[in-house]
Amino acid sequence: MSLDVQLPGLNLKNPIMPASGCFSFGREYSQFYDLSELGAVIIKAATKHQRLGNKTPRVAETKSGMLNAIGLQNPGVSSIIADELPFLSQFQTSVIANVAGSTVEEYEHVARSFKDTSLIHAIELNISCPNVKEGGVQFGTDPELAFEVTRRVKEQSNVPVYVKLSPNVSDIVEIAQAVEKAGADGLSMINTLTGMKIDLHKKQPLLANQVGGLSGPAIKPVAIRMIYQVYQAVDIPIIGMGGVLTPEDVLEFLLAGASAVAIGTANFKNPMICKEIIDALPETLSSYGFSSVKEAIGGAHNG
């Protein structure tokens, strides 16, 4: 059974990778299994300077999901390059750097900084952060802003750029097409849905940040729908994510149109999940009649 997939910048031995923000820079999970097993690792968001993130509580459980409002806590791009990437480079796996910022300039700076290292293979451009200059609109909800930030980050990058789309939009296809036109090499979808939980005891939003991002199996149907729709409208590959828990879920993402699949929240329930899914994938694929991962990609569009 061949699990390999070739994508811009990424020669993946299998389509499975931990999702950004759920795996830090890999150290913690490396006590559970050899990270060389992974197709790739998407590291925690990098910003220009260190960020402390939001006040706690930062997470809350919801039915078949969770909310998080970490607030992009990270040590800053230079420290990531100096202290974290060398650790990851000991494993035989691709590294995707998640790039975040509050302004186009910050995005450009972070992308440019990653030029100094050969230890990343692609950029995941996280356009779900609020754009401070434009008054808190998310780059990811306005096609023109999305186009602009993609175009400018592409100019600063020497590796392929996958743009990570926000699902909190009326028309995901419009955004996907805008970033494709701006030169994106691929898409990564979906980021979290914006949600809230109220603390009944305290009678106020449970998260200190009030709202948080909803992830986990609860959002899988939204992810599948968006990937299915976008697959039909663009020609660049999609890294799919949102609620993956089982090898069957991975197959569902592939059929919908994803070329690779990232796993976020499920790592918290089961730190072995990525490895267990990689091990189980050949049997799952063959039980549904596939002899390779490539064969399954987009398979639900043939009907």
Partner: protein, 255 residues
């Protein structure tokens, strides 16, 4: 840290809504456990609960391959756990976090201060201190008489003072009130409980050195998601409760 399945050997309600689990577990891992460490418990295999629950290790008996947890039924997850019967397997990450660094401390008399569900880890700590010939005095606080547990257990290891918020058992008031009234002499304190209690203890005992164990909502429980942070002393960076804690020297963190 490992992910493993333990088996519930015995489950018992020891106080109002408070359950004790004795878990059968591989003894090699039990020998490595430090007092103050916790386990990160998976509620069940369904997708309904995507987050594990952190529960302190209350006691360890390597000879019997037993690990004791004591937890209060609070929300949905702990209510589901409470219903599990003997012989049920239970999926843990163990051991999690850093405990009280008692091997590195030269002390003679330790004061242990616990509030509510902060009491359980102090029991294993008291046992371990006693083994090292440290004198142990315990002050534990609960809401009400029905919530009190482990007083006798602590009394076998040293003095133990109990306070209840409503005065229905032991002293009326908070653990700090007991401390005020009993002028306990000690070298170092070890506290675990809700943040307001820890703040009061730190303030009241500002002339003493102490270690506190913190609670924070967790995602991964292993240091990878940045959910469970607490500001360092000068609030310039965060520490992770699950990974750098849950036990901190009072000077390390700002609570």
């Amino acid at each position: 840290m490992q992910k493993l399945k333990a088996t519930i050997r015995h489950s018992e309600i020891i106080a109002r809504d408070t359950v004790q689990f004795d878990l059968l577990i591989d003894p090699t891992i039990l020998k490595t456990i430090q007092p103050g460490q916790f386990v990160h418990v998976n509620i069940d295999d369904s997708s309904e609960h995507m987050l594990r629950r952190p529960i302190s290790i209350a006691d360890v008996k390597p000879d019997e391959s037993l690990l004791t947890l004591i937890f209060k039924q609070f929300g949905e997850g702990t209510k589901k756990l409470a219903q599990l019967k003997a012989e049920t397997p239970i999926d843990l990450l163990i051991p999690s976090g850093n405990g009280y660094p008692i091997d590195d401390l030269a002390i003679e008399h330790a004061l242990l201060i616990g509030g509510g569900i902060g009491v359980p880890p102090l029991y294993y700590l008291a046992k371990k201190l006693k083994e090292k010939n440290v004198k142990v005095t315990t002050v534990i606080g609960f809401q009400s008489a029905d919530d009190v547990f482990y007083e006798e257990a602590f009394l076998t290891l040293g003095d133990c003072f109990v306070a209840t918020d409503d005065g229905s058992y032991g002293y009326e008031g908070f653990v700090t009130d007991v401390m005020d009234q009993n002028k306990i002499d000690f070298d170092m304190y070890f506290a675990c409980g809700p943040n307001p209690m820890l703040r009061a203890v730190k303030y009241t005992l500002s002339d003493k050195e102490g270690y506190i164990s913190l609670e924070e909502r967790m995602g991964c429980g292993i240091g990878a998601c940045y959910a469970c942070v607490v500001p360092n002393r000068d609030e310039t960076a965060y520490k992770k409760v699950c990974h750098d804690g849950p036990v901190f020297h009072t000077s390390e963190v700002s609570i």
